[in-house]
C-alpha cells in the first residue's frame, strides 16, 4: 500500500502560494489581486491540514478553521474598501492610486499603448420613414 507522502502535499501548497504571489505582484485589478491573496491562503491551508494528518493531531485542522474565519472577515472588509476606492476613482485599476507611493519613487507609466478597440459594427440601414410609397393610380372616380 503506497500512500501519498507528506511532502507531495507540501509541494502543491507551495505551488499555489507561489502562483498567488505572482498574481498579487503582477495583476493590476484590485479584485484579482485580492483573489490571488486568497489563493495564497489556500496553499497554506493545504500545508496545515497535511501536517495535521501526518502528525495524527487535529491542531492543524483547528488552525485552518481560524484562517477560514480570518479570510471571511478579510473578504468582507476588503470588498467594502474596494467598493469605496471604486467610487472615488471610477476604476478598479490599482495604479491609479500610485500617488500614495513613497517620495523617492518614480511613477510607473504605461508605455505600450493598448491595441485599438475593434471597429464597431455598422448599424443596419433602414429606409427613411414617412416617405409615401408608390401606389397605382386610381382608375375610377365616384
Amino acid at each position: 500500500m503506497t500512500a501519498v507522502p507528506l511532502h507531495h502535499y507540501l509541494v502543491v501548497g507551495a505551488v499555489l502560494f507561489a502562483l498567488g504571489a505572482i498574481g498579487f505582484l503582477a495583476r493590476r485589478n484590485l479584485i484579482v489581486m485580492f483573489l490571488s491573496a486568497e489563493m495564497m491562503l489556500q496553499g497554506v491551508a493545504i500545508n496545515l491540514v497535511a501536517f495535521a494528518r501526518f502528525r495524527g493531531n487535529l491542531q492543524g485542522q483547528a488552525f485552518v478553521l481560524f484562517t477560514l474565519t480570518v479570510a471571511a472577515c478579510e473578504a468582507a472588509i476588503a470588498l467594502a474598501l474596494i467598493l469605496m476606492l471604486y467610487r472615488s476613482r471610477r476604476s478598479l485599476d490599482v495604479s491609479l492610486w500610485q500617488d500614495l507611493r513613497e517620495p523617492g519613487q518614480e511613477p510607473t507609466v504605461d508605455e505600450e499603448p493598448l491595441p485599438p478597440p475593434p471597429p464597431e459594427e455598422p448599424l443596419p440601414k433602414l429606409p427613411p420613414a414617412g416617405v409615401e410609397p408608390p401606389h397605382p393610380e386610381e382608375t375610377s372616380r365616384v
Binding site: 500500500m1 503506497t2 500512500a3 501519498v4 507522502p5 507528506l6 511532502h7 507531495h8 507540501l10 509541494v11 502543491v12 507551495a14 505551488v15 499555489l16 502560494f17 502562483l19 504571489a21 505572482i22 505582484l25 503582477a26 495583476r27 493590476r28 479584485i31 484579482v32 485580492f34 483573489l35 490571488s36 486568497e38 489556500q42 491540514v49 494528518r53 501526518f54 502528525r55 495524527g56 487535529l58 491542531q59 485542522q61 485552518v64 478553521l65 481560524f66 477560514l68 479570510a71 473578504a75 468582507a76 472588509i77 470588498l79 467594502a80 467598493l83 469605496m84 467610487r87 472615488s88 471610477r90 476604476s91 478598479l92 485599476d93 495604479s95 510607473t108 504605461d110 493598448l114 491595441p115
Partner: protein
C-alpha cells in the same frame, strides 16, 4: 566562492525535474500574463503543459492506487485553475477559476481526512466569498474590460520572484523529505523479494542460481548497512536520518543475520529456507517505508508538556496504519469540536469578536456616500 560546477550538477543532474518544472512554469506564466500585445496563448499553454509533466516527475509515486490517482487529479486541477486565475483578463472568469481552486483544494482536504474542513471551505469560500466577489465585479465593472485588466505590472520580475521562491521551497522540500538513495535501496529490496518468491516455489536442493542470489543479496545488504565511501553511498544509519537511522540499520542487520544462516545451509548442501529470507526482507521494507514517512519531522522531546486534547501529542508513540501514517479519529467533527473548546477556547472567542468587528467595520466603510462625482 561557490563552486559553479557543483551548482550546475545540483540543478541539472540531481534535481533536474524541479529545475525543469520551475523554468517551464516561469515561461508559461510569463507568456500568459495579460499585456497589450500578448504572445499567442498556445505557446503559454504548451509551456504550462510541459511544466505540469515535469511537476509530475517531481511528485511521482511508484504505484497507482486510488489515493495517488485522486491526489494527482486534484492537485493538477488546483494548479491549472490557479494559473488561469492569475492569467485571465476577465475578473469574473478569474473569480470562477478561484472557485475551482477552492473545490480542488477541498478534494485534497478529503484525502487528508478533514471532511468538516472540506464542507466549511465549500460553504464559506465557494458559497459566500466567491459570490460576494462576483457581486462586486458585476457592480463595479458594468462596461466590460478595463485597461487595468489588459496590462500587468512587471510580468517578468513578478514571475521571476514567484518562481524563485517556488524553486527554493521545492529544493528545500526535496532535501529534507526525499531520500533517493533510500528509495532506490527499498526498490532493490523489492526486486530481491520477487526473485526469491520465484525461487522458493521450486524448493529443490541448492543449485547455482540460488547460490548466485544469496551472494548478490549478501553483497547488497552489506552495502545497505555500511554504505560505500568510494561510490559515495551513505550507510543505513545516515539514510534513515536522525529519527529512524538506528531502526533501519537494526532491520538490515537482522536480515543479514538470517541470510548468514542460509549461507551456512548452502555450504552444507541443505535446502535454503527462502521464506525466512523473504520475511526478513519484508520487515526491512516495512521499516524502510516507516522511516521514509518520518523523514524531515522534528519530533518534540518527551519531556515537553503538550496537550493531548487534540489527539495524541506528537512526542508520544503514535498508532500507525499500514502505510505508516498515524491514525486520526474517525469522528472528525466531534474531535475537532473538542479541540476547539479545550485547546483553542480563547482563540475561538477572539475569532468571534473579530467577526463582529469586521461586520461593523465593513458596514461603516461601505455605507459612506460617494466622495467623487456621482
Amino acid at each position: 566562492m561557490p563552486d559553479v560546477s557543483q551548482l550546475v550538477r545540483l540543478l541539472l543532474v540531481e534535481h533536474l525535474p524541479i529545475t525543469l518544472a520551475v523554468v517551464l512554469g516561469l515561461t508559461a506564466v510569463y507568456l500568459l500574463l495579460p499585456r497589450p500585445r500578448g504572445y499567442p496563448p498556445l505557446w503559454g499553454a504548451a509551456a504550462g503543459g510541459a511544466a505540469l509533466l515535469a511537476g509530475w516527475f517531481v511528485i511521482r509515486t511508484g504505484a497507482l492506487t486510488p489515493e495517488t490517482l485522486l491526489f494527482s487529479i486534484f492537485s493538477a486541477l488546483a494548479v491549472v485553475s490557479g494559473t488561469l486565475l492569475i492569467t485571465q483578463r476577465n475578473p469574473a472568469r478569474a473569480a470562477l477559476a478561484f472557485a475551482l481552486v477552492v473545490l480542488s483544494t477541498c478534494g485534497l482536504f478529503l484525502l487528508l481526512a478533514a471532511p468538516f474542513l472540506m464542507a466549511a471551505t465549500v460553504i464559506v469560500y465557494a458559497g459566500a466569498i466567491v459570490v460576494t466577489f462576483l457581486f462586486v465585479i458585476m457592480l463595479a465593472q458594468q462596461e466590460g474590460l478595463s485597461s487595468a485588466d489588459q496590462r500587468s505590472r512587471e510580468p517578468l520580475l513578478a514571475s521571476l520572484a514567484g518562481f524563485l521562491l517556488l524553486g527554493t521551497v521545492l529544493y528545500a522540500l526535496a532535501r529534507s523529505y526525499q531520500s533517493p538513495h533510500l528509495n532506490d535501496r527499498l526498490r532493490e529490496v523489492q526486486q530481491f523479494q520477487t526473485r526469491i518468491q520465484g525461487l522458493s516455489r521450486e524448493t529443490a536442493l541448492p543449485d547455482e542460481r540460488s547460490k548466485q542470489v544469496v551472494a548478490e543479496l549478501e553483497k547488497f545488504l552489506r552495502t545497505f548497512r555500511k554504505g560505500d565511501p568510494q561510490k559515495n553511498i551513505p550507510s543505513a544509519r545516515i539514510l534513515g536520518g536522525e529519527s529512524g537511522g538506528d531502526e533501519l540499520a537494526d532491520a538490515v542487520y537482522e536480515a543479514q543475520d538470517v541470510l548468514e544462516k542460509q549461507q551456512f545451509n548452502l555450504e552444507n548442501n541443505r535446502p535454503v529456507q527462502w521464506d525466512e529470507v523473504e520475511q526478513a526482507l519484508a520487515e526491512v521494507r516495512r521499516v524502510g517505508d516507516r522511516v521514509v514517512n518520518r523523514l524531515g519531522t522534528f519530533q518534540p522531546r518527551d519531556q515537553t508538556p503538550l496537550s493531548g486534547l487534540s489527539g495524541p501529542p506528537p512526542n508520544r508513540e503514535l498508532r500507525r496504519d499500514a502505510a505508516g501514517r498515524p491514525e486520526l479519529p474517525a469522528e472528525n467533527v466531534a474531535y475537532l469540536g473538542r479541540s476547539l473548546f479545550t485547546d483553542f477556547l480563547i482563540a475561538v472567542e477572539l475569532a468571534g469578536t473579530l467577526l463582529l468587528v469586521a461586520t461593523v467595520g465593513a458596514i461603516a466603510i461601505a455605507g459612506r456616500r460617494a466622495e467623487g462625482p456621482p
